[in-house]
């Protein structure tokens, strides 16, 4: 070893190394020294760590979360974004970072039929929760937005008239929360894709792939998802399922591309079990293969699909149906707590 090599590793390289560590290790390494503690809590470092964890080929900092809706009490995961989960337990809603083991109660005493979306306003560097509440008497869907940064609610425009948000989960992409919505009068039973922009608080309509508009809604099971940064729609025809992706996000119908068209084998497709099944895409790998969960009375099954074929399939939980509220969760250091509590000041 030469003297020249006994140099200390410069801070920018230390940062480069640390941003590739799991959150668990980083929490331990907070007590290496004061400067490491302040680096790990630093806002820029937290963002850099997140962007590394979110890279599509980095699977070690991602987890598939499956939620057993049967017999687990009254709770539901509404959304997962940047390592934060929006969960609903009894009548309360929380934002929770399971890796940091910290949470923040957003609201309680919920009695109405509510739907939630969660996302990030990059313009203000703020995480926001969007709550839609249906008011039966007025027949309108109210919108309120909670900012994690300011800790307060803002009332926004109502959900577009003549549409009501579909029960399925919302997704966040391109600065907006997206819901599938069902048409009421004068367009009964038609589907629409409605987005809510978290920076200007405005609703917009995003066109759906053209070909499916001619089918009556009740023959389909439709879900939204985000795969590899693309807004996707999966339509389950029962004999097959089809996945469309919006390759470049814009408001043009032509940007939808069909990326999967998977015929299901007959014993599965036409069994009574499958009629009640649930299909949900979770993840698209770098090579374009898609991880899909299918749950039916046979159990919870994972499939890896590409183009027209199923490349791999395995039942992971026999006789347990766990797909509906499943998510791919990315590890992050983002604290759901208000800033003054989120930063630990210890000398």
């Amino acid at each position: 070893m030469t003297e020249a090599n006994r140099r200390r590793i410069p801070p920018e390289i230390v940062e480069e190394i640390l941003c590739k560590l799991p959150v668990m290790s980083l929490n331990r390494f907070r007590c290496v020294s004061k400067s490491w503690q302040s680096l790990i809590s630093d806002h820029c470092f937290v963002r850099k760590h997140l962007s590394h964890a979110a890279e599509p080929n980095n699977l070690s900092q991602k987890a598939l979360i499956l939620h057993n809706t049967a017999g687990s009490g009254n709770w539901k995961i509404h959304a997962s974004y940047d390592g934060l989960l929006c969960i609903h337990v009894d009548r309360s809603v929380y934002i929770w970072n399971p890796c940091l083991k910290t949470h923040r109660k957003i609201c309680d005493g919920l009695i109405c039929t509510c739907s939630f979306g969660f996302g990030y306003d990059s313009r203000r560097d703020d995480y926001k929760l969007c709550k839609l509440s249906y008011l039966w008497r007025q027949k309108i869907t109210e919108t309120e937005v909670y900012s994690l940064g300011s800790g307060s609610w803002t009332k926004c425009d109502n959900f577009p008239q003549h549409y009501s948000p579909h029960y399925s989960t919302s997704v966040f992409i391109n600065g907006s929360i997206h819901w599938l919505a069902l048409g009421e009068k004068p367009k009964p039973y038609s589907f629409a894709l409605i987005s809510f922009d978290l920076s200007d608080n405005k609703y917009r309509e995003v066109p759906l792939p053209e070909c499916w508009l001619k089918y009556p809604h009740n023959s389909l099971d439709v879900k939204l998802c985000v795969l590899k940064g693309m807004l996707c729609v999966i339509v389950d025809w029962k004999s097959c399922f089809v996945l469309w992706a919006m390759k470049d996000y814009n408001l043009d119908q032509k940007s939808w591309t069909k990326i999967l068209d998977i015929p299901l084998d007959l014993d599965l497709a036409f069994s009574v079990y499958y009629i009640l099944a649930d299909v949900k895409p979770f993840y698209m790998y770098e090579n374009g293969e898609v991880l899909i969960g299918v749950s039916s009375e046979r159990g919870t099954e994972l499939l890896i699909c590409k183009d027209n074929s199923v490349l791999f399939r395995q039942i992971i939980f026999p006789r347990q149906s766990l797909i509906g509220h499943g998510f791919v969760h990315v590890e992050s250091l983002i604290s759901p707590l208000p800033l003054e509590n989120g930063e630990q000041q210890i000398n």
Partner: protein, 167 residues
Amino acid sequence: MVTTDEKGPLTAKKKSVIIRSCDGDEFLVSESAAVLSTSLKKILEEKEDRLIHLSDIDNKTLAMVIAYLSTHADDGLSDDLKRSFDQEFVSGKEFDVLKYLVLATDTLQVTCLCYTVAKKMADIMKNKLVEWVRREFDIQNDYTPEAEAEIRRLDAWAWDDRQLEDD
């Protein structure tokens, strides 16, 4: 001593550069490989000199960096092959060796190698004890015992792992 890089004798058409390590050994490197390092590129643009002396990179480390640069400058190799080369390149290397490598990437400014080495260092570190990290990074613990105990208490769950290693 002049060592040619892995591609063997260079053709007359291809320009090459001689790089000297701090131990005094010289390495003949094609210009296309050398310019993947931002610092070498800058030096080559500034002066005609074909001999570059690196005062803080030893022989062993420099040879590794040059093997990396030559592979990445080879247009005949697919990105997939380069990726698997990268994996092989860091696999099995000791933390100390990686430390010299990462310092060399800092001097030479080779971003993609820095990324690969940093990733491998993170993989080795992730299950290590705090004491191991302080030793390897030559860091003085500047907490009072009470303050350190308080931080450990706050993140007690992160210490629950029974697999932590000290070597």
